[in-house]
Symmetry: D2
Subunit: 388 residues, 4 copies
C-alpha cells in the first residue's frame, strides 16, 4: 500500500466547491426547519462558507445559484469573497421556480417560455463574466408527471436546440455542465434522466459541454463508479455534485450513507485521471442540511471527501493489476479493502497541523464560538432558503 | 366472467373518501405551483370536494387534516358539509410542521415534546366528537437522517407508549389508524417504515387500532396486494390511502402509473372481505395534484378506482380456483386478465345515467363552468396549501 | 381515436422473432423443471416455434443460440425451417458457459481468452452466412463480483477492441447488436450495464452496430420508453428482447407484469419510427417459461405484443399534440388511456378470421392435441435446456 | 470509545455457523463454475469447514442441508465433525428441488404434496435428534410467477396449517426458524416475502418458532438494522443468514458490498441483546462463492463479521445517548462513525496470537498448502453443488 507520506502532495491540491445554498435553510415538501443564525444575504452565505475553508483548507470556492444569489454588484461580491480568502465558482441556473415553468423550461412546447429559459442562462453567462466563473451548471426540473402529458421525443429535440443557443453564447474559457437526474420533481419522466442522455446532449454540443454527475441522482442499485469511469474514458466528466442517500435524492452529507461507495468512486476518479486541478473535473457538494447545523455539516462533508480520497490514493494499484492478471478475486478485493480499512485520521490530523491548520477542524470550529456569534448577530431579517 | 349487471349492486355501495388537502395547492420541495381558484378556506375545500361527489356519486366523505383544517366551529362545519351533500370523515393529525418536532413527535426523546404531540392527538379526538368522525389517522414524519442520530429501539418503545395514551382516549366507536411509510421526510430510518411495524404496534393496542396502507409508501418492487391480503387475513386493514407512483411517494393519481396493480389490489380487497361499508376498510385518496387541475384530478381518481373495482368484481373466481387446482398457470392468469382487459367504460356510463348521474362525469364537470367560476370568485385572499 | 379498421394494414406487417431456447427447459439457480415433450433437438425446437406462427401468424422467425443450437448442416436446418413456414433469424452468441470465461470473455485480461471469445463470434458470423441471418446479437455475462477484482476501465477498453475485430468481420448486410444488462450473473459490475454504455460502444464501431434493449435489464423504476425514444432518436435501436418482470431479470411473459408499460413502450416505438419491417428494429422475445407450458407461453406472448400494438396504433396522436400545446395534463393523459382502456380483443379475433387464422389462437392450439402428441412422441433422449 | 481491550471477552464468545453448501460449487442460472478440490462428500465439506475454524477460531458449527447432506449414519457424521473440532448445527430443509414442488410445497393446493413437504420436515427433525441440532431452518421457494396463478390468501392459510404440524413435532429443545425472501425463485409473489409475514406466522405457532433474517432478502433500500431492532424487541429474531449484495440476492461475502451496513446491523444486534451464546440468535453465513475460492471466501467472511463486531462493540453508547438527548445530530453520527472508522485489524491480529491463533488467518491458511492438497487428492468423483 502507498504510504500516507507519499500522497500528501496530491492531498494538498484538493479543492472542493461549496454550494452557497447549503448555508441557507432547506427541507422537504413537508417542512423547512430554520436554524439560528442562518444567512439573510449572499454575503452572509459567503462568510459562512469561508469558515469551512478556514478550518479545513479544503474549500476555497463557492458556487452561486441564480436567482437565489442575485446581486446588484457582482464585482463587489467577488471582492467580498476574495477578502474572505475564497472565490466564486460555478454558476447554477434555476428554471424551476417561476410559474411559467410549470410544464418545462428549455424543453417547453411554448417557444416563448423556452426563450425565457434560454435568456436566463444568457444572464447567467453574463454573471459568470463578472464573477470570473468558468462553469455554467444546468440542472433541469423539466419532465412530465403523467404518460401522454408531453411528447418525450419532442422535448428531447427542443432541449438540444435550446442548449445549442446557450452553448454558442459561451466564452472560450467557459463550459456548460449538464446534470442528469432520475426523478423529482417530475414523476413520470425527466428530460435528462441518466448519464447517457446527458452525454449524448453534450457530445452534440462540443468540447466545452460536459456532464455533471450528482451522486444522488440514480436509480436504486446503480453502480456509480462505473459511470465515473465511463465519463472519464469519454472525456466528458465535468463535475460532481457530491452528497449521499439511502433512498432517493436524499441530499445527505457525502459519505454518510455509504462511505465505501464514496471510496470506490474516488478510486475511479483517481484511476481515470479525474483528480487534481488539471483534470477539469470540479468537485462540488450539493447537499441539504435539513436538521443538522449547516457549517459543521459542510465541514464534515469536505473531511469525508478528504478521508476517502486519502484512502483511494493509498491503494496499491500495481498489486491490484497483478492480482487481476492472476485471477485472484479475493486477493484483489483484499488489496482494495486494505486501503479502505486503514484509519487515516491521525495521519491527516498531523499533516493538517504541519500546514498550519487545526488537527481537528470540527472541534476547532465549534470552539471558535462562530455559531453563537451568528445566532446572536443575525437576528431579524429573513433567513434565506430555496428562494430568491 | 361475472357480467356487469351482476355487480352493479356492489358498485352502488362504493364510497371513496377525499382528502381536503387535495383541493389546496401542493408541490415538491422545489416549487409549489398555484392554480386559479384554489381554496382559501376549509369551506371552499369542502365545496370543491362536493363537486366530485355531485358528478360521480362516489365521494360522499371528506377527510380533514388538523391543523390545516382547523375551524372555530366544527358543528357549523359539519352542517356546512351536510348541506353540500357530503360528510366529514377521517381526522388526520399533523406532528411534522411545528418547529418542536424537528427530531420527532410521538417518538421524541424529550417527554415534553412527546406530550405536546399526544395532546395534539387528544385535540383531534375532541374534534372527531364534534365532526362525527370515527377514524383518527396517524402518519408520522418521525425518523432520523443519520445513523447514530437516535436510538431506533428507544424511539420504537416510546412510540408504543405514546400510542397507548392516545388509544386509551378513544371513544368506543372511534378507531386509531396507523400509517407506515418507507422513507421521506426522514432519510435514514422512519419509525413506522413498513406494514409489519404498523401491525405490531396496533396489535399491541387492541381492537380499535388498525393499519393504514398508503399505496405509495413501499420499497421499490413491493407486492402491495400481498400486504392487502395479509392485513385482511389478520383483521387489521383499517384504511387505504390511494395514489400511484413510478418512483417514490410521487402521490400521482391512483391508477395512473400502473392500472394493473390497482386492479390486483382491488382483487385482493374483494377476495379478502375488504370491500363495502361493513368491511371496516376506508377507501381514501391521498394525492398531490402538483401540475394538474385539482377537482378534475380527484374526479379522474375516483373513476379510476371505480373502473378497476368493476373489473375486479367481474373476475370469475370459481374458474380461477379450478385453474389453480389443475396447475394451469396460463389458464389462471388468462382468467384474471380477461377481467382486466375488459372495457367497462360504456357499461359504467349507462349505469351512471340510470342512477341520475352524468354518463361522463369529467365532461359534465368541465362543461359546468365551475372552474371558471371559482377562478373568478376566489380572487384575493391566501390560497391554501400544506400549511394551516 | 384511430379506429381498428384503420390500423389493420399496420398490424398485418407485424413479425415477432421467437427464441429457440424458449422451447427448451429453463429455470432458476434453484431448479430447472422439465415439461413432457420438451425438445431434444434443434429441429424439435423449430417445430414447436412453427406452431406459434401457425396459430397466430405473428412469429415467422426463430433466433438461434450458439452453441445451444449448433448443427452440423445449417443449410439443411434452414430448409427444415422454411419447410415449417418459418425462417432462421438472429444468431445469439454465448461466451458465458465455458469454464475459460469465469473472469470474462471479450473483456478478459487474458488475450488468449479474448481471442477465443472473438473466434466464437467469428464462427457465429459464419453460421449467419449459412442460415441467412443478418443480426449477430451479443449479450455478455462479463463483469465482476467484488470491488477491486478487475479494472473496470481496462475491461471497457478491451471490450471496445474485441468488438472492433468482430465488427470488421461482418458482411455488408450484417449487423452487430449489443445488449446491455443491469446485473446478473455479475454482481458488482457488468461491463455493459446500461444503454449509455452499449450506445457509446456501438457508436464507436459504425453504422452496422446497434443497441439491443431487453426490457428486463434495467434498474428498478427505470423509464424504459424514454430509452426507446432516445435510441430511436439516435438511430441506434437495433432490437428488442421482450419479456416482463416484477423484480429483476425475471424473464416472465411480455406484458404479464405491467401491460401498461408494454403499451407505453410500443407507443414510443411507433412514434419514433421503430415499427414495421423497414424500421430496422427487430422485435424479439427473450423469456423463460419456468413453470408454464412453453408453446402456449409463446403464443400468449406474441398475442400480448399484438394487443398492445393495436392499442398503441389507435392513439389519437393529433389530439395528444394539441393537448400538450394547451397544457392540458389530464386531457392528454386521458387521450392516451382511452386507447389503453379499449378492449381490442374482439376486433383482433374477427380480423384474424378474415385472414384465415383462428379467432382464438390459444384455444385452437390447445385443441389441436399438439402438446399431447409431443409428450407422447418425445420420450427418451435428453431434453434441452440452457446448455449445448 | 470503548477500548479494544475492554471488548475481548465479548469477542471471545463469538461463534459463526458455516453452511456446508458454501464449500460445494454454486453459481447462477447461467453457469456453475467448478473449482479444483471441491468436495465430493459431506465429510469433505466438513473437513473444509473445519479449516475455517482452525485458522480463525470463529466457526465451530456447520449447518446441514437436507437432502444435499443426506447421510446413512448421522451419529457417525456427528463424531466425524467432533473429531474435526466442530459440531453439526442448523438443519436446513429443502422443498424446492423435487419436481412435485413446481407449484409450491407447504402451501401447495394439493394436500398430498403438502403432506410430502411436511414429511420432509419431520424427517429433518429426526435427523436433528441424531445430529444434536436444535434449529430447523425453513426457507421456502413457494410462490407464484403470474398474477392469478394461485390464491395468495389460500396459500397463506395452508402455510399456517403446515407449519403447525411441523411445529408440533418439535422436541422441547428444538426450534423452528422461518426465513423470508423478497423474491426468487418465485417472480410474482413469494409466500413469505417479508419479516412481517414471517413474524405473524411464527408468532401464531409459539415460543419455539422464530424468524430468520437473511441480509440479502429485502427490497432495494430496506433498512435492515431496523428489522433487527424490531425482531429483537419482539423476542423473535432466531437467526441470521449473513451475506451481502449490490442488487438482489447476490449472496456475496458478508461485508463485501457495504461494510458500513454490516456494522450498523451488528450495532443493533448488540444494543438489542442479540449478541452472544445466551441470546438465542444464531449467526450463520449463507453465501455463494461463484468465482472465488470457497474456503478462503469463508475465512474472509467470518473475519469481516469479527471486524465489524469489534467496531460495534467499541461504540461509546453513553456518549451516543447523551448526544441524542442534546439533539446533536452531527455529534451523534460522529460517535458512531468514530468506531466504524477505527482500524481494528492490528488489535485483532495481536489478540488472535495471544489465543494461539495465527495473526493473519488468511495468510496462514493459504501458506498451509491445503488448497493444493485437496486439488490433488480429490480427483475423480462428482463435485457437489446445489443438488443431492
Amino acid at each position: 500500500m502507498t504510504t500516507f507520506s507519499e500522497i500528501t502532495d496530491q492531498l494538498a491540491v484538493q479543492a472542493i466547491e461549496l454550494p452557497s445554498w447549503a448555508f441557507g435553510n432547506s427541507g422537504t415538501r413537508f417542512k423547512v426547519f430554520g436554524s439560528p443564525g442562518s444567512p439573510r444575504s449572499v454575503e452572509e452565505k459567503l462568510a459562512d462558507a469561508a469558515q469551512v475553508n478556514k478550518y479545513t483548507g479544503l474549500a476555497p470556492v463557492v458556487a452561486l445559484h441564480i436567482p437565489w444569489d442575485k446581486h446588484e454588484d457582482y464585482a463587489a461580491l467577488r471582492r467580498y469573497a476574495e477578502d474572505l480568502g475564497i472565490k466564486l465558482g460555478t454558476v447554477n441556473s434555476n428554471t424551476f421556480q417561476d410559474d411559467i415553468y410549470k410544464y418545462g423550461s428549455l424543453t417547453n412546447v411554448d417557444p416563448a417560455i423556452r426563450q425565457r429559459a434560454i435568456d436566463h442562462h444568457l444572464e447567467c453567462i453574463d454573471i459568470m463574466r463578472e464573477t470570473g466563473s468558468t462553469d455554467l451548471k444546468i440542472w433541469l426540473a423539466d419532465g412530465t408527471n403523467y404518460p401522454g402529458q408531453g411528447s418525450i421525443r419532442g422535448r428531447q429535440d427542443r432541449l438540444a436546440e435550446s442548449l445549442q443557443v446557450i452553448y454558442d453564447a459561451l466564452d472560450e474559457n467557459q463550459r456548460l455542465v449538464l446534470e442528469y437526474k432520475f426523478f423529482e420533481p417530475a414523476f413520470y419522466h425527466t428530460d435528462v434522466p441518466d448519464w447517457g442522455t446527458s452525454y449524448v446532449q453534450v457530445a452534440a454540443l462540443g468540447d466545452k459541454a460536459m456532464v455533471c454527475l450528482d451522486t444522488g441522482h440514480h436509480a436504486p442499485g446503480t453502480n456509480i463508479e462505473f459511470i465515473v469511469m465511463q465519463l472519464l474514458r469519454l472525456g466528458k466528466l465535468g463535475a460532481f455534485d457530491f452528497n449521499s442517500r439511502f433512498y432517493a435524492d436524499d441530499d445527505l452529507i457525502v459519505g454518510a450513507a455509504d462511505p465505501f461507495q464514496l471510496f470506490r468512486i474516488l478510486c475511479e476518479v483517481i484511476a481515470g485521471g479525474g483528480y487534481g486541478p488539471d483534470s477539469g473535473v470540479a468537485f462540488m457538494l450539493d447537499q441539504c442540511h435539513n436538521i443538522e447545523d449547516k457549517i459543521p455539516g459542510q465541514i464534515r462533508s469536505v473531511l469525508n471527501v478528504q478521508e476517502q480520497t486519502a484512502k483511494a490514493l493509498m491503494v496499491d494499484r500495481e498489486a491490484l493489476a497483478q492480482a487481476e492478471v492472476e485471477g485472484d478475486v479475493l486477493g484483489a478485493n483484499a488489496i482494495l479493502m486494505d486501503a479502505f480499512n486503514t484509519d487515516v485520521r491521525a495521519d491527516l490530523a498531523a499533516w493538517r497541523e504541519s500546514r498550519g491548520l487545526p488537527a481537528d477542524p470540527m472541534a476547532a470550529f465549534l470552539e471558535s464560538g462562530y455559531l453563537a456569534k451568528i445566532a446572536e448577530e443575525r437576528k431579524g431579517g429573513k433567513q434565506l432558503s430555496w428562494g430568491a
